[in-house]
């Protein structure tokens, strides 16, 4: 299945060459060329072994046009989890919407710009960083995004600044996004000793079939801390591919939490490079899928510097005919002595036809390391259910409670109260089948 670029060469031409500036035009052209060469990945590609992107490849999505009318703010805030008081940047069908956004709550020194504005106002910074971490060699979807990304956000947090509130980036797709492709782009720079949290929500309003292909790249400076929460609740007919590439400095922390319950087909890639000694990365995720949904998480932690720690916990609850996939790779460079890596993936199958594929991987080239991984797949413990029933809890409730308890271990890693409460609420509704979706 090749020729991904050919399918989209007209759309690319319509964008007017991708520049200015000239370096950006060159970057986009190179990305389109790479995308054309690679085409969409097939299941023969080891990284896509369990996920077929045929539904994406066989469609030709249109470039999204700016929407004529935006959803009312109150409805929007109800649709997303989190605190309405958080500073927010809202993108409707891929375009930044200033009227729905509110960035006033951010402390001075934090620079938040849209991609378009940043290219004008901070060209040198952009030339130095855009596409530098999220490289597109052999990465078809990153190449696709790089060629087509029109809007997005550029965030810079200066040295030693601890930002008290998280920045909420909301991506909304409405009915007008039908048949469109959205390529949001995020570039984050957290300088030395600074601390910052981002919540990225993907939601839809009457959204039908569209394709979100987001790419984020983040640099976490020495001693800095970055938390990234991704809440993927796209339309049930949508396709979602999200890639995040992070580079970490000495003694830095990157914490990622990925929640996925939307989209017909979703794939989340999180790649972290531990470049400085003593850095720590925590990757957590929860996927709740049913019907014929497909959710895939892929993580790649590269231990390049010594004495770094990585922790991963991904849990999945798969119902109906849904298909959950986890592929976590931990790579330890020969120089990365004293590495401490731990990775877990646990999946709960709620229906006889639910499917899961799990592939935890260790590639270790240093000797003084401690690396483990574990993976389990199963259903609810009959004995626990029996016990609860013997205590007078109905079968339905007992199931919901046990399922919820299974999910709670990951949800507890969410440090933002409003987000955690919101997600717990959604999860509980889902297990008790009181949700509307």
């Amino acid at each position: 299945m090749t020729g991904g670029g050919a399918q989209y060469s007209e759309a690319f031409a319509a964008l007017g060459g991708g520049g200015p500036p000239a370096w950006l035009a060159d970057l986009r052209k190179a990305a389109l060329a790479e995308f054309s060469t690679l085409g969409f990945p097939t299941t023969r590609n080891e990284d896509w072994h369990f996920t077929s992107v045929t539904p994406i490849a066989e469609r030709t999505f249109r470039s999204a046009k700016p929407p004529s009318g935006a959803p009312p703010l109150t409805e929007l805030l109800e649709a997303v989890t989190g605190d309405p008081a958080w500073p927010r940047a809202v993108f409707v069908n891929g375009s930044f919407d200033g009227s729905l956004s509110s960035l006033g709550g951010l402390p001075q020194g934090v620079r938040v710009n849209t991609l378009t504005a940043a290219l004008k106002e901070e060209p040198e910074f952009m030339a130095a960083h855009l596409g530098k971490l999220a490289t597109f060699d052999a990465q078809a979807f990153t190449a696709f995004n790089t060629a087509f990304a029109q809007d997005g956000l550029v965030v810079r947090v200066p040295r030693e600044l601890k930002v008290p509130l998280p920045l909420h980036i909301i991506h909304v797709a409405d009915a007008q996004a039908a048949g469109c492709m959205l390529h949001p782009r995020l570039l984050v720079m957290v300088e030395e000793l600074a601390e910052f949290a981002i919540v990225e929500s993907f939601v839809s309003f009457n959204g039908t079939e569209y394709f979100t292909n987001s790419v984020a790249e983040a640099t976490v400076g020495n001693g800095a801390r970055l938390h990234h929460y991704k809440v993927q609740r796209e339309s049930r007919e949508a396709f979602h591919v999200g890639t995040m590439q992070v580079a970490q400095g000495r003694s830095s922390l990157f914490h990622s939490f990925s929640y996925a319950s939307g989209a017909a087909l979703s794939r989340t890639n999180i790649y972290a490079k531990l470049l400085g000694e003593g850095a720590e990365v925590q990757l957590n995720g929860l996927y709740l899928i049913d019907g014929s949904q497909h959710a895939d998480h892929q993580t790649f932690v590269e231990h390049i510097a010594p004495s770094c720690a990585s922790r991963e916990l991904y849990k999945g609850i798969v119902d109906g005919d849904a298909h959950g996939v986890f592929n976590g790779k931990v790579f330890v460079d020969p120089e990365a002595q004293k590495t401490d890596g731990k990775q877990s993936n646990h999946t709960l199958l709620l229906s006889p036809t639910a499917r899961v594929d799990s592939k935890p991987q260790l590639e270790i080239f240093a000797d003084d390391v401690k690396c483990t991984h574990g993976s389990t797949v199963g259903r609810l413990d009959e004995i626990a259910l029996f016990y609860m029933k013997s205590r007078g809890i109905g079968a339905e409730n007992a199931r919901a409670l046990l399922t919820y308890a299974f999910a709670a271990e990951v949800l507890e890693t969410v440090e933002l109260d409003a987000l955690r409460d919101g997600l717990e609420h959604i999860a509980f509704q889902r297990f008790t089948h009181t949700d509307q979706r």
Binding site: L350, Q361, E363, I364, H373, T376, G378
Partner: protein
């Protein structure tokens, strides 16, 4: 790294010698004529030649797989010889007729046939290059109706069994190396245990590559009829060579209803010297099919070969069938191993256990690659997997690639893996108790591998320790 570990790791291969026996060898190269020649030399029936040719034609359309985590120079398939038989070997009635030089070779390897026959009660079908040179205890086995002979004999004496089961587990089209083997296999072992018979002794084949530049293509087929039991031992050592040798064997196990097959391997093919020159390329396809209530258990100790590519697998086809895989894989110097297993759960209430221990030393690269598959109809099934890796030295690597695929919700899979350095504090503790560092390492490695060694038959477990590459002592068996 302490000097003692280094000396152990860098130990020279002890079994590097060449037996000077006149060989009947054909010219290098591979084409249909070679396949026909092999078949005619073995006086094979037409159906087998046809099968070989089908395999050969299929092989020509296939490409060598490069997905394993292995690096090696391209193999020159046309440069190898596909048949080599010691000329002195003609039909033999007893061991006394065996070339004394060959017997001496086995003695050097520490498996004097007569001695083993007497002490261990093991029937040894010794394979010297491609032709079986001696089979012992045939009478004892015949009493129970157990058939244990070379593959060539079996083709002539039990054609209906061979025709029924050959390729039934590993079809000739299975993979590149299996297709190659199917086309040019020279000899091997065949075993059939009739209904309800418990094979009275442990069957053993000692494989050995001898003539220079001879690829060895063994084919083993073991059939356990309903309710039968057999324990099969396979051990390998090979003489020192500077050119790479390809070994592409196929092993098929058929466990019919309620039967049980236990297959144990100690593999110590020549691993190449410390710079990675020479050594055997060991690309083996091993697979068993377990029908209702049957059990297949693989135990392997992999210490040799420059490159090992091997996934002894079990197709759990019948309800309540059981599959087991116990493995110790050791790599040092520039050895590479990509080994593991596949457990394909098809029947209901099937169970599989995987215990894999990898030890990497020197610049060795060790990969565990395993697939556990629970198909939709394999309800109520279970898998438990544990793979641990130990690293000795800072230039080696240990890698884990498990694939867990579950398509029903009444099955349970558990997988855990760990990788760590040999414990400095454990070594320190042992030394504080008066043990030498060498002894301490033996003890630790022995403990690390204990779960696998205890699955080996007693006399094999002892040999496994010797061949482990690092001297092991302590409680085994």
């Amino acid at each position: 790294m302490s000097s003692s570990i280094e000396s152990l790791v860098n130990r020279e291969y002890q079994y590097g010698f060449v037996t000077d026996v006149e060989s009947d060898t054909i010219e290098p190269g591979l084409n249909e004529d070679v396949v026909r020649l092999i078949s005619s030399k073995k006086d094979e029936p037409q159906w087998l030649l046809d099968w070989r040719l089908k395999a050969f034609r299929r092989w020509q359309t296939m490409t060598e797989p490069h997905w394993p985590n292995l690096k090696y120079n391209p193999i020159d398939y046309q440069g190898a010889r596909y048949y080599s038989a010691p000329k002195s070997v003609k039909p033999l009635q007893s061991l006394d007729e065996v070339d004394p030089e060959l017997l001496a070779t086995y003695k050097k390897l520490g498996i004097s046939l007569t001695e083993q026959k007497m002490l261990a009660g093991v029937a040894v079908d010794a394979i010297f290059d491609s032709v079986s040179v001696g089979t012992t205890m045939k009478a004892e086995l015949a009493k129970h109706g157990v058939v244990f002979c070379s593959f060539t004999e079996a083709v002539h004496d039990y054609p209906e069994l061979i025709q029924k089961y050959l390729g039934s587990v590993v079809p000739y089209s299975d993979n590149f190396f299996a297709a190659l083997n199917s086309a040019v296999f020279s000899d091997g072992s065949f075993c059939y245990v009739p209904k309800g018979v418990r094979c009275p002794i442990e069957l053993s084949t000692y494989f050995r590559i001898n003539a220079a530049d001879t690829g060895q293509f063994e084919r083993t087929l073991i059939v356990a009829d309903e309710g039968a039991y057999v324990s099969y031992l396979e051990g390998c050592t090979a003489p020192k060579r500077s050119t790479n040798q390809l070994h592409a064997a196929v092993v098929e196990l058929v466990a019919l209803d309620r039967s049980s097959i236990k297959y144990s391997t100690v593999q110590n093919w020549y691993a190449g010297d410390k710079d990675g020159v020479g050594g055997i390329y060991n690309f083996v396809t091993k697979r068993g099919k377990a029908l209702e209530d049957a059990k297949i258990s693989w135990t392997q100790v992999e210490t040799g070969s420059a490159i090992t590519w091997k996934y002894p697998s079990v197709i759990l086809q019948g309800d309540n069938s059981v599959g087991e895989f116990y493995s110790v894989a050791v790599v040092n110097n520039k050895q590479q191993a990509d080994t593991g297993t596949k457990m394909i759960h098809i029947g209901k209430n099937t169970k599989s256990t995987i215990i894999s221990k990898g030890i990497s030393a020197g610049e060795g690269q060790n990969s565990y690659r395993g697939r556990v598959q629970m198909l939709p109809k394999a309800t109520g099934s279970r898998n438990y997997t544990q793979c641990d890796s130990m690293l000795i030295g800072n230039k080696c690597g240990a890698h884990t690639f498990p694939y867990i695929e579950v398509a029903n919700n009444s099955s349970t899979t558990e997988h855990e893996a760990s990788t760590s350095k040999i414990g400095e504090d454990q070594i320190f503790y042992c030394k504080a108790r008066g043990l030498s560092a060498e002894h301490a390492i033996s003890l630790i490695v022995s403990g690390f591998c204990r779960e696998v060694f205890k699955e080996l038959p007693m006399e094999f477990a002892l040999e496994a320790q010797q061949l482990l590459g690092i001297t092991l002592e302590g409680s085994v068996g």
